[in-house]
């Protein structure tokens, strides 16, 4: 159904506890890091200081320094920017492509177009998502950051398509659609004014939940060396580079891992609050993988 305006207040109420507070603070810091990293990082640039390499966490360097003497905190903040931009771009691509495909397939449900779209969706489902992402990155070339976003998006397209299709299939049978048709509304108008608004809530919930998955997947790609490439900083690649220093400099591994964990956790908490705010009566369900 079309989201009732009270959902924002209900969602906010669900975050009014210590855990929700932590989630909101983390998201606020990330948002700041995304828009104005200079405002957050103690050291303006990622310049190297070979003399200061492998310093453990201290007041001057809260997350320590890496092999080249770079301040890890600064790297993390710039990495946050990459992670969030790639994640947002991937969600946007998947949402646009998947929801459009689902809208068309659902509106003309049972037609040849529907059949074709759903067969293509089935094909994407046959591949494990990380394998699909790796293959697409290899094809498009990880040098461009956009191809990482597209690779991550592709695995999410079928989910959106199926979600929107099933919603549209039930909505098009509603009486208000027949009424709209009766007063002479065009197909485009019916889609825009009467069908799309009814998919907003499920799309919102799926997008926020999807963002957690995208962040984890991006970290995995970058860890394997096929995600975000230098000079763009990335948490996954920080982990790739720090792995060999694990015995001597564990904080180089701990800090990016903590950043990934906190981000995914915060996004997940907010997503859960939005879901519960939109559908207050449904019981808590497990995350869709």
């Amino acid at each position: 159904m079309v989201p009732h305006p009270f959902w924002v207040r209900r969602s906010a109420a669900l975050l009014a506890n210590p855990v929700g507070g932590v989630a909101l603070v983390v998201l606020f810091v990330l948002f700041l890091a995304m828009l104005a990293p200079r405002a957050v990082v103690p050291y303006g640039s990622l310049t190297i200081h070979p003399a200061d390499s492998f310093l453990p966490p201290s007041v001057a360097h809260p997350a320590g320094t890496d092999a080249l003497g770079r301040d890890v905190t600064s790297e993390l903040v710039y990495g946050a920017r990459t992670t969030l931009w790639v994640g947002a771009a991937a969600i946007l691509v998947a949402l646009t492509v998947g929801a459009s495909a689902g809208l068309v397939a659902g509106f003309w449900g049972g037609s040849a177009v529907d059949e074709l779209i759903m067969r293509l969706v089935d094909v994407v489902y046959v591949f494990p998502s990380i394998v699909l992402a790796l293959t697409v990155v290899a094809v498009l070339g990880p040098e461009r950051i956009g191809s990482v976003a597209v690779a991550l998006a592709l695995g999410m397209v079928p989910g959106y398509a199926r979600l929107v299709r099933s919603r549209v299939l039930s909505i098009r049978e509603e009486e208000f659609i027949a009424a709209a048709r009766g007063v002479g509304a065009t197909t485009m108008r019916i889609m825009r004014k009467h069908i799309v608004p009814h998919t907003v809530d499920v799309l919102l919930v799926r997008s926020v939940a999807g963002l957690s998955g995208i962040i984890l997947a991006e970290a995995t790609l970058s860890f394997l060396g096929l995600g975000v490439q230098p000079p763009n900083p990335s948490w996954g690649r920080m982990l790739r580079e720090s792995f060999r220093y694990l015995p001597s400099a564990p904080w180089l591994t701990l800090m990016p891992a903590l950043a990934i964990f906190l981000t995914v956790f915060a996004v997940g908490q907010v997503g859960e609050a939005i879901r519960a705010g939109l559908h207050p009566r449904t019981a808590t369900k497990g995350h869709q993988p």
């Binding site: 293959t135 498009l140 591994t253 997940g268």
Partner: protein, 314 residues
């Protein structure tokens, strides 16, 4: 039943064909890299590159390459690796046991964690259940390779209990094999255990309110009998589906964990192949995984018939 299974297999074929076409087209129109240049590395060796292209049949029309490739697949020939002096089929067969063992162990481990936690958090209210539920949230937010590195730091580097890398095939000794598999299996299992525990919990809560559960209670069955005989059996139905899908996906999901631990499995083979643009190997792995996913979804559907007597396939 037989007709249903046959029908499902017939439907599987066009999907797999379409999947293979997509992958083949994707790889060959790749702007990401000319495989020959990844082997030769030098643009100036143009004559040599042409020779190598000819040798690998990369100079033939794309349609001919595809048909050639497909007809070979049909008889189980995946072609030769660009980088290893081996048939792709032999590489796959060589790498499969390590991944199958890892996925099998991780599945067993994840199930043995998820089922008790799922049931416990659904039936027993209180602090411990809340703690267990929060643990699943934590496990869902951590990438498997991060957990892997944390485990290596604690159990290999600090405590020296378990090796941090190295796969010992089973026939060299059970203990050596298992001790090398513990950390990878735990790293891989944690996320799945959390997902499945949540599924079991929500399925359990959903079933518990059903009419037949109330009837079972009303006729005086003990709580235990209701929980295990009526609620659990029905709650396992949706769980079977998700577990089946995830286990198939796990074969591909081992990429990062196998890289961390240096396990010579399918996942690491795949990431190496992608890094080196070894097209025949990439195609072989992707096709193998697509096959595994398709077959397992078939198996899940058939299993459904056994778990749920209400479902009868014509």
């Amino acid at each position: 039943m037989q007709r249903y299974v046959l029908g499902r297999i017939v439907i599987m074929i066009p999907t797999l064909l379409l999947a293979s076409t997509v992958i083949f087209a994707l790889m060959r129109t790749a702007v990401g890299g000319d495989p020959v240049l990844y082997i030769i590395d030098r643009e100036e060796a143009a004559g040599q590159a042409r020779l190598l292209r000819h040798e690998l049949h990369l100079d033939r029309p794309i349609g001919a390459q595809y048909l050639d490739w497909l007809s070979r697949i049909a008889i189980g020939d995946f072609g030769r690796s660009f980088r290893y002096p081996m048939e792709v089929r032999s590489v796959l067969i060589e790498r499969l046991p390590a991944t199958a063992e890892l996925a099998g162990l991780a599945t067993a481990l994840a199930l043995s964690i998820a089922i008790p936690i799922g049931i416990y958090t659904a039936t027993v209210p209180g602090g411990l259940a809340r703690f267990a539920a929060s643990s699943t949230t934590v496990a869902l937010c951590l990438p498997d390779f991060c957990l892997a590195m944390a485990l290596i730091y604690v159990f290999s580097i600090t405590l020296h209990w378990l090796p941090s890398s190295g796969y010992v095939p089973l026939h060299y000794g059970l203990l050596e094999n298992v001790s090398g598999m513990v950390l990878p299996a735990v790293s891989l299992a944690a996320w799945y255990a959390a997902v499945w525990a949540r599924y079991i919990r929500s399925a359990f809560l959903e079933v518990r309110g059903a009419d037949y559960v109330r009837v079972a209670r009303a006729k005086g069955l003990a709580e235990r009998a209701v929980t295990y005989g009526h609620v659990l059996r029905n709650a396992m139905l949706p769980t079977v589906t998700i577990v089946g899908q995830n286990v198939a996906g796990m074969f591909g999901g081992t990429v990062a964990v196998e890289t961390v631990f240096g396990n010579p499995g399918i996942g690491r083979l795949f990431s190496d192949a992608v890094l080196g643009r070894d097209y025949p190997v990439i195609q072989g792995v992707v096709l193998l995984l697509a096959f595994v996913v398709s077959v397992s979804s078939l198996v899940v559907d058939v299993c459904y018939g056994f778990v749920d007597p209400r479902i009868r396939y014509g």
